[in-house]
Amino acid sequence: MRGRIMDAIFERMGVNPNIFFLNADMGINLVEKFGEAYPERYANVGIAEQNMISISAGLANLGYQPFAYTISNFIIHRCFEQIRNDIGLHHYPITLLGTSTGYDNAPLGPTHHIVDEWGVLKSIPGIDIYCPSSVTYATRLVDRILEAGRPAYVRIPKGGHTEPASDEHMVKLPGETDDVLLVSYGNPAQVCLEARCRDPRLSVLVVNRLHPLDEGILAEALTPHRRIVVVEDHFPVTGLYGSLCEFAARHRLGGQLESVAPIDYMFDVGLSPEYFYKKLGMDAYGLLKLTGN
């Protein structure tokens, strides 16, 4: 996923002189080529994420469309004031590229669990937030961002999943009945797809653009279902569950909205995301049990 996005940026730098790439000393064997090919449009700012965001704003003042890359927790949590004031207030077309989502860094502990970052960003007016669930969506994403010319955050999951092979912001895989809809994004979306393989009655809605939500498509996708279960590797209050509760209240949707997600930090070692999925009932078995199978 990450490689596809980086390749797309690198390729576009060759034809678009307004792209500037910055990183905060992250991305070994990945970012070097930017500096080698385009030294005048590349900077490793060092371990100084706040500086990277404000520098990006200065570059945007010069007409650049900067991409700023590091690990998701560092680029969001540490830099919220820079993102709000230097990007958001100015509506600068700066893209924050955050690698890792949820429990991608499972054994590294709670400072590296990315479970509460994009939800705080959605409070900034005019920002687009993406979490590509498949390489198909990731491949087209860079062009979409460049065309939109708005502030953006890309939450990049580890892995290179190929399903659902669609470049739509929302992809619905209907089940045999309209009873239960699982709504998810990023790596947990794969778990939902697995659950649907085991129980074809389940419907799944994969959301690639988390904010803003396409309300027309969303209303159509949610309406038939009695139970809507949001499965996410992010705190639900600020996450997609929160967005859907707000949406459902405004549109007077009647379905029952449920959440499967972490609600606090985890301090134990898990060698893989699956350890935490199981603990949270976010594995396929847990989802099947919850939905009555």
Binding site: N51, I55, G58, L59, A60, G63, D86, L89
Partner: protein, 253 residues
């Protein structure tokens, strides 16, 4: 402006007047007014210095003088911290430790665009130097040899509630900046000619530079000078009359 609007930050604005005059005297203000892409960039990192900035911009023809009458009043864009929706203001500020970092991006961008000689100015407060992001900027400026970036510190030695030396003593300031690899000059911050001389030396030199401008918070208003409370207080009618009488006397002398 401050009196009419019952606005605060008198002290911080009065200390920076001559620094602002020196900066705007060093650039092509017509290019700033017309937003020409290769214009010099001026970043007001101590964003609460808005009244003085707008006044100096108007003096140099970037803003219409009549606009100043709306400062800090309902519906005006002239907010109490510099606001980029005002023509000629590059970037909104107000939270400290941002403007200098944005200036770094401007300097990098100008160099990348091939405008290597076009200067970028950033004006900081000395209290602001307590923000860690400032030093992230300094490390980067020196490492990248951003010689077109000139940092000016309004060293009025008072921040919010007391003297900066009582809060975090940063002396000797010039040595700290030099330790980060910049050339540092210490000047009388109320002497426009001296500040401009230091600007010229940095522009002719081969290192990025910082100018420590020693100033008096509340300069020109005797009862406000060196008094931290004038970061917050607004002038009564009597105090305004007294202040103006003193300034008229200074002008006449």
């Amino acid at each position: 402006m401050l009196h009419r609007a019952r606005a605060s930050h008198l002290g911080s604005n009065m200390s920076a007047i001559e620094i602002l005059i020196a900066i705007y005297s060093s650039v092509d203000c017509g290019k700033i007014r017309d937003q020409v892409p290769d214009r010099s960039r001026i970043l007001i990192s101590k964003g609460h210095c808005a009244a003085a900035t707008y006044a100096v911009m108007a003096h140099f023809g970037i803003l219409p003088m009549s606009l100043l009458d709306t400062y800090h009043l309902d519906g005006s864009l002239l907010t109490g911290h510099v606001n980029h929706t005002v023509d000629g203001v590059e970037h909104s500020a107000g939270a400290l430790g941002h403007g200098i970092n944005v200036a770094v991006g401007c300097a990098l961008g100008l160099r990348s665009r091939g405008y290597t000689k076009r200067p970028v100015f950033a004006m900081l407060g000395d209290g602001e130097l307590q923000e860690g992001s400032i030093w992230e900027a300094m490390m980067f400026i020196a490492h990248m040899k951003l010689n077109n970036l000139i940092t000016l510190v309004d060293n009025n030695r008072i921040s919010s509630i007391t003297g900066t030396e009582q809060i975090i003593d940063m002396r000797p300031l010039t040595a700290r900046f030099e330790g980060f690899g910049l050339s540092a000059y210490e000047v009388d911050g109320h002497d426009v000619g001296t500040i401009m001389g230091a600007i010229s030396r940095i522009r002719e030199g081969d290192r990025p530079g910082v100018i420590i401008c020693n100033t008096v918070k509340g300069r020109g208003v005797p009862f406000a000078e060196w008094q931290p409370i004038w970061h917050y207080r607004s002038l009564t009618d009597e105090q305004y009359a007294e202040a103006m009488a003193h300034l008229d006397q200074v002008e006449a002398a």
